[in-house]
């Protein structure tokens, strides 16, 4: 090939020279033993260190406080839902993992203060990338994220979380909706945080 194309074969004089000078057997003299001793010293020293392993299923280390885990649909202090079914979370979602259907509140069945509430709320956790854009998009802080991360399951259906799986539990002072707004309160007073929990 080199004759045809007139290319000189690759040559590096420095490498050839070095190869000729060095002996075939690596002989570093007494330093070999010392370097080995030094290496074993690292191993020996590690035996006295505290193990780094987290014993996971028994010991669960808390995540970072703002870790992006499973979502939660929050409630007002009296138990009404914060979600108004505006679908901004679904619009913000880069993976199209959220499905929302809004519905109008009526005087007989009120789920949230104001006009609308989220009737259907689904998050497909197989699509969700936990980016938190839905949290940023939510105008009422209805949607936030928890630190819960143990979500694995054995079928696709089980990983589509419905509204009842995502809603926050009923805490002290809350009443399960549907129920009317606090007496004298309107939508605005709920958002300004003027409505407190129900005294029982």
């Amino acid at each position: 090939m080199s004759e045809i194309y007139n290319i000189e074969p690759f040559k590096n004089d420095a490498i050839e020279k070095a190869a000729a000078e060095s002996s075939p057997v690596l002989d570093n003299g007494p330093s070999t033993f010392l370097t080995q001793l030094l290496g074993f010293w690292v191993t020996f020293r590690t035996m006295f260190k505290k193990p780094n392993t987290v014993q996971y299923p028994e010991v669960k280390e808390p995540t970072a406080p703002r870790f992006h885990g499973r979502h939660q649909l929050n409630r007002h202090p009296d138990g009404l839902e914060k979600c108004i079914g505006c679908e901004l979370c679904a619009w913000a979602c880069p993976a199209d993992a959220i499905y929302v259907e809004g519905e109008s509140n009526t005087e007989e069945a009120r789920f949230s203060p104001g006009e609308r509430y989220g009737k259907v709320y689904q998050i497909n956790y197989l699509r969700c990338v936990f980016c938190g854009l839905c949290i940023e998009a939510c105008p009422t802080r209805a949607l936030t994220m928890t630190n819960e991360y143990e979500l694995a399951d054995d079928s696709r259906e089980k990983l589509i979380y419905e509204k009842q799986d995502l809603l926050s539990p009923i805490h002290q002072g809350m009443i399960m909706p549907p129920h009317p707004m606090a007496p004298g309160a309107d939508e605005g007073s709920y958002y300004r945080g003027e409505v407190k929990g129900v005294q029982q």
Binding site: T63, L126, R127, L151
Partner: protein
Amino acid sequence: MGLIVGLEEKLPSGFVLTSVEKLAGYMRKNSLWPATFGLACCAIEMMAAGAGRYDLARFGMEVFRASPRQADLMIVAGRVSNKMAPVLRQIYDQMAAPKWVIAMGACASSGGMFNNYAIVQGVDHVVPVDIYLPGCPPRPEMLMDAILKLHEHIGDAKLGVNREKVIREVEAAALAAVPTHSLPVFGSSA
């Protein structure tokens, strides 16, 4: 993993087979060897799960086998492109039964945010998946949680005639299931 090679297939249903099932399940779940199938960023978390801090060796699965012949768990970690799908299937076919699959991360489970022509929309289009693990990428604890859930499945696995019975029941349930196009609309009762 044939515990008593072929014998469990011939045992009649009863306490002997149940004891063999329990023993086989215990041994199988505590000696899972994963095949390396890291495809994207999830593989980094999978490696972290194998390293000292999370230490998969505690569950008897420290060796990630490069040969599918020696592996019985495939952790599909990352997005599977259409071009990779036949390779994935071949690796799965080369694994010796019994074998299990974990779809790790959003991409392997459903395609995740890559809803496009290049990515397989979930590896269950190619191989049967036992555990779906959401997350992008899931942290090592999540992977270990998925593995522990798979351990429960493996521990309860049936053998021989009991297995055939379970398969028949699943088949009958699938035939009797309502097709998706005639399912009731979600949330209509709410």
